[in-house]
Symmetry: C2
Subunit: 187 residues, 2 copies
DNA sequence: AATTAAACTAAGCGTTTGCTTAGAAAATAA
DNA sequence: TTATTTTCTAAGCAAACGCTTAGTTTAATT
């Protein structure tokens, strides 16, 4: 017995996510969100509570958007090669127009650091840990690797992803290709 | 025949730099700068023009602060080992209290991306290029390396520094040590 | 057709932002 | 001492910030 919503939450969050991805959290104002999401501030606040709530949902949407390439890694059974392919897929995934946008999670960690609110921090950390565990799984597919080596290589690859994220935003294709090739050389 | 300044520009910029380093550009307000620098807004604006001016000077101060470990790299003649030592020195350099602050230049690139003002962007790019050329110099000390390999390895190391910068802010010592050791294992 | 409850619009709330300015204080030169 | 010039204090500017709310519109239920 009431009026129906003129938007779907998942649709407007998708648009919010892209804005946050390009601009970062602080540099994205609620007025900008209004325009990009195509709904009034009232609707934003009634659906998501506050700006922070919009952001947390955006992070979740980002994760499921990344699932396309994460599943490729998950379903691969060619060890280190699958991880290398993931690095290249990520580069394609992050591409905007010529320049990359980086990883939204990495960008957020860099911007907010440890002053991110606890519920957000949980989402960010889960993301990193899930990715690392995918690396571990693929590394273990090579039976010659000791468990200790797998752990150390997983640490290496996780930090390397941070470099790729930031690199994608400021470096050219040659530099990024040299980077990835060198990472997986001799592994 | 006039009143004398009660502060030295280089002293207050040092304090401003540390604030920007911990908080980032946007999250550092002029009121915060006032308190940290210990001078009134009038003095800030008469000495540096605007907030952006304070930041540009802070970046320059950061670079000369980094000179301590950059000179060690510059004066080293043990090739790849000198670069590895630089990575460890950087980690020590960036340490705040337990957690690292990352590289101010990398943090800034991540926050502002390509919407940084031109004069600031010049400073940021010069920093990266200068560092890369130090890597090239040390790599060339090994006469067995071809010029092409040196270029590719320099690209690899530059992007790896970005990873180290972000990693220093969110990862523990074991993860970071694994990262650095693995980088130089391959070279 | 009347009722009702949620979704909409748009104006405006108090704060904070970067920055300015009028007037007082200080230090040198005459 | 007096005049001059710069620095300092502190109040205040317009604009933008995140967020709220009064009043209207819409759609399902009676």
């Amino acid at each position: 017995m009431a009026r129906t919503k003129q938007y779907k939450e998942e649709d407007v969050i998708q648009k919010a996510m892209n804005l946050f991805w390009r601009n970062g959290y602080e540099a994205t104002s609620v007025r900008m969100l209004e325009k990009e999401m195509g709904i009034n501030q009232f609707s934003i606040y009634s659906s998501f509570g506050n700006k922070h709530g919009v952001f947390v949902e955006s992070i979740k949407a980002y994760k499921s958007e990344l699932n396309s390439i994460r599943n490729i890694l998950k379903n691969s059974n060619n060890g280190i090669l699958g991880i290398k392919q993931f690095f290249y897929n990520f580069l394609e995934f992050t591409k905007d127009n010529e320049q990359g946008k980086g990883c939204l999670v990495c960008n957020t960690v860099s911007e907010l650091g440890n002053k991110a609110e606890p519920d957000l921090m949980v989402e960010l950390m889960k993301f990193t840990e899930e990715l690392r565990s995918l690396f571990v799984n693929n590394l273990k597919q090579d039976k010659l690797r000791t468990e200790d080596l797998v752990e150390r290589e997983a640490n290496y690859l996780t930090t390397s992803m941070l470099g790729l994220s930031l690199g994608s935003r400021i470096q050219n294709e040659t530099e990024l290709e040299d980077y990835i090739e060198m990472i997986f050389n001799k592994m």
